[in-house]
């Protein structure tokens, strides 16, 4: 995840990390969450595809 993208997302909810080390930690969880959201999205697409029409 790009640092600028993350900082922009944080700023949107009023969060401005003061420490660089925090950005590393936030990035780690953020990457996991983005991957989780994508996994959910793909599963729902499969569910919808398998749905009888």
């Amino acid at each position: 995840m790009e640092c600028q993208t993350l900082i922009a997302a944080l700023a949107k909810v009023g969060i401005r990390p003061a420490r660089e080390a925090d950005l590393d930690g936030i990035t780690r969880t953020a990457v996991f969450l983005r991957s989780s959201a994508d996994q959910v999205k793909h599963w729902l697409a499969e569910v919808d595809h398998d749905q009888p029409r």
Partner: protein
Amino acid sequence: MTNPVDLTLPVVAARLRDGRLTAETLAQAHLDRIAARDEGIGAFVHLDAEAVLAAARSADTELACGIDRGPLHGICVAIKDIFDVAGWPVRYGSRLYPDRIAATDCTLVTRLRTAGAVPLGLVATYDLAIVGPGDDGLYPQPRNPWDPARVTGGSSSGVAAAIAAGMVRVALGSDTGGSVRSPSAYCGIVGLKPTHGGLPLDGVLPLAPSFDVPGAMGRTVVETALLFGALRDDPVELPALSLDGKRIGYDRTWSLSPDADPQIVHATDAAASTLSLCGAEIRRVTLPPLSLMTAAAAVLIHAEGLQTHRAHLARDGGRMGRMAYQSMAAGAVLTETDIAQARRAADLLRARIDALLQEVDALILPTTLTPAPAFADFADGLARWSPMCTLPFSMTGHPALSVPMGFADGLPLGLQIAGRHDAEPLLLQIAAGFEHTTDHGALDAASLARHPLPAARQAPVFMTEETT
């Protein structure tokens, strides 16, 4: 003579009523045990010995006058540091609230008092009950009584440590993504996460409202059931031990996750066999993938957690523990679409579990996929997920409990039993049957520390406590 702290609550209750024990003597025994053992553990963060003894004396007076409030009358209960107890420094384990004093009792503490219980003290939690074990919260995190180099799990960290170290028999915890069940598994005790929405949450620090539930934790299943009965203000019929005719679903694939300790699947297979020997019918079932359920739950917990703590994160982030801050702030990368999709997935997955639970009475699976990690694993100070199977039932709201399942490398493992909404008595019954047959919970962390076993500690040890 056995220290009363080491007697099960039904035995204590009988002695309180036949005059062999007083609540004051019992409370003093708890305070003495805490004084002797907690220095190396760090479970308790607030103790008011005078108030404890006064409440115990009051319980004695009532019993002497013929007022009997039930099985918790005169029994000491520890409280996680997120439940309001009037006049106590309930600070949520956070440097954001160093001077907070709770004004009133939360409803659950009121219910405990009504049941005659004696609030013993506050026990540690992770910073804002979010994630840990950080080293920059309001107080140090407790050490696992089985191995002080290991974490207890959390966020009900102090509860699990206090019970496992023999300082208290039962305690009030809470569970958002596994905060009752994972520390119970790591510390070798029993932890019940009830059905979502079944117990009141007023006066309790929120995290993710569609997941948050108070929980009952105890040394044994029966004791946990007694506490749960007081919390729901409706006694639980003490579980019968026969499992004849119970249909239990088992999906091995969750135990075989890539990040699982290889010993987990063997322990869970053995648990399934044990339940079968107890009369239950084990059926192979197919659960939705663990990774999918965990993914949807993680999205929702972080979305709700960010909403709950947004003001703290924006205004006071520098004073939050770093793990908690980093974990909650990361929710900012989730979009409205992500959250809506995760909610839809949660609804579909809940329906699938409901459908499975029409075919079987309960599901079994490991609580965590490893024994307790070492503190050293968290030395970089970054938040991380320890592999476990608790998030799915947090998301679906089904009740689930963890009961000691055995040992890996001398550390406890937990068997998770999940069931239909409001089926807690059945889960307790199954757990009681399993506990009675295996007696893994009879192993005592404190006594093992004094007399370490030379090899694997899997051999069951049978109850030696007096049972009358």
